[in-house]
């Protein structure tokens, strides 16, 4: 039995080299394994010179039923094959490989990172004085986009009927003036000073009762820096962002109120600068490329995917040294059909190189786990709605 199996394997390989597999070459008994040409279609995108092919993922559980191969979701199978490898991790950025997952789910994570993870951002700006060249509404918009380094998990959403309190609002003050005879100055985002006790601006009192308690624009019951989360770790914003420039005699005095929100509402609440994934590139040399052709190939690639190795007999042979660097520019398969035949550019459909660039509120690895949790919560909501 085993000998006939290997026979059919080799004959299939020959057939595949010719570009097709005859039904007569297929084994009589389903082998639980797809023939190689179908496996290639299922797992790889072929990036040909004209267009990519096999870009779809085969999702239907019975797609290979006639071949005796089960394509349904088996969680144990998924658990055994799924793996994650971190390749780069800093405070603001991370890159990791996620292998053995469907793009539908990888994309869900990416979409959640961009649009559904909450952060704090300035939503309301109370301008007491602004004589700068930047108009109020533009200044307010610019302030809104400044990333705030505060853990959004410590805050509640401010709903319409809520009063701004220490649980849902962070208040900053900005008061900068340029001297009348001084040089022009740039107002940077680190001029925003955190007010842990809430707003300091007084609301105009309705009655003329001088004894009435002066109201401010927030109602904090306690100071935020007395809370254990903030006592050792004051709220700051991302420094070095130019908010405005002031000429001699100009002044800005304002108060900015930051609240919790999600990127769906406005991009200022997005916790990532961006987040993306790409499929792992796979570069295969279909034949040995030697001598001058190898030199040409190395020259062709703008990102240096190929390298040249010296063989014992003194000839030079091209090899694929850095497939991950491939940007799929397809420069190497551009010059005529013979080059197309020599090189196969592919992408692995279930291998994602995922990158997250955080804006600073939370480290990127925390962002990803939070994103996965949000997808879990969504599922849970649907389940509870259905039962």
């Amino acid at each position: 039995m085993s000998s006939s199996d290997s026979d059919s394997d080799t004959s299939m390989k020959e057939a595949q080299d010719k570009g097709f597999v005859s039904a007569l070459d297929l084994p009589d008994v389903p082998s639980q394994k797809l023939p190689p040409h179908l496996e290639l279609r299922k797992t790889r995108v072929l990036c040909n010179a004209d267009a990519p092919v096999n870009t779809d993922t085969i999702q239907y559980s019975g797609a290979y039923a006639s071949m005796g191969v089960d394509n349904s979701l088996r969680l144990d199978h998924f658990s055994n094959n799924f793996r994650v490898e971190v390749t780069r991790l800093t405070e603001e950025e991370m890159e990791f490989d996620m292998v053995g997952i469907n793009p539908a789910i990888a994309n869900a994570f990416r979409r959640i990172l961009l649009a559904e993870l909450p952060t704090m951002a300035i939503e309301k700006v109370l301008i007491a004085n602004n004589t700068s060249v930047i108009r109020d509404e533009i200044l307010a918009h610019r302030l809104g986009l400044i990333p705030i380094k505060a853990d959004p998990r410590l805050f509640d959403y401010l709903s319409e009927n809520d009063k701004p309190s220490e649980k849902n609002t962070i208040v900053f003050k900005l008061h900068v003036a340029c001297e009348r005879r001084g040089p022009r100055i740039a107002v940077k985002s680190d001029e925003l000073k955190w007010l842990p006790n809430g707003s300091e601006l007084h609301k105009a009192s309705e009655g003329s009762n001088p004894n009435a308690k002066v109201e401010t624009y927030t109602s904090f019951t306690r100071s935020q820096d007395s809370l254990p989360e903030f006592s050792s770790n004051p709220v700051t914003v991302y420094p070095d962002i130019i908010v405005s420039k002031l000429g001699p005699g100009q002044e800005i005095e304002l108060e900015a109120h930051a609240v919790k929100g999600v990127g769906k509402t406005h991009a200022k609440w997005s916790p990532v600068a961006t987040s993306w994934y790409r499929m792992l590139p796979e570069v295969v040399l279909n034949e040995e490329i030697k001598g001058k052709k190898a030199e040409i190939l190395k020259q062709k690639c703008p990102v240096g995917v190929f390298d040249i190795e010296d063989l014992a007999d003194g000839t030079k042979r091209a090899k694929v040294a850095r497939p991950r660097a491939c940007t799929l520019c397809r420069e190497c398969v551009r010059d005529g059909e013979e080059w197309e035949k020599r090189i196969s550019l592919r992408r692995v459909k279930d291998h994602f190189i995922f990158t997250i660039e955080s804006t600073g509120a939370l480290p990127p690895e925390v962002l990803f786990t939070e994103a996965v949790k949000i997808l879990e919560d969504k599922c849970e909501r649907v389940i509870s709605d259905l039962s």
């Binding site: 559980s61 979701l73 789910i105 879990e376 649907v382």
Partner: protein, 99 residues
């Protein structure tokens, strides 16, 4: 959420509010991988309305149960992704601190 089923339990459309491609596409994937599902798909009736309709037609089981199982599967996958990811990050941090 509405559950519209005409006559039999096998075919149903589920209308999820406050959801978009994020959940619907992931659910469509898990549903498609279920052998009990004959057909499934989703659509967003109008782009300015936060709503998706998920259509499920099964070979015999109630569509509601099948959708529930799909959610359960997706959730378990997420849990596995999270634990694997946390381990990978911990490994990476351990490795880089040693260097």
């Amino acid at each position: 959420m509405e559950h519209t089923s005409f006559g039999d339990q096998r075919n149903a459309t589920f209308s999820l509010t406050e959801e978009d491609h994020t959940l619907a596409n992931a659910l469509r994937f898990t549903l498609n991988q279920d052998p009990r599902v004959m057909f499934c798909g989703y659509s967003i009736p109008h782009p300015s309305e936060a709503r998706v309709n998920i259509r499920v037609q099964t070979t015999g089981d109630p569509a509601r149960e099948v959708l529930k199982d799909a959610c359960q599967d997706l959730m378990q996958m997420c849990q596995h992704v999270r634990s694997t990811f946390d381990n990978a990050v911990a490994d990476f941090k351990k490795g880089s601190s040693r260097e």
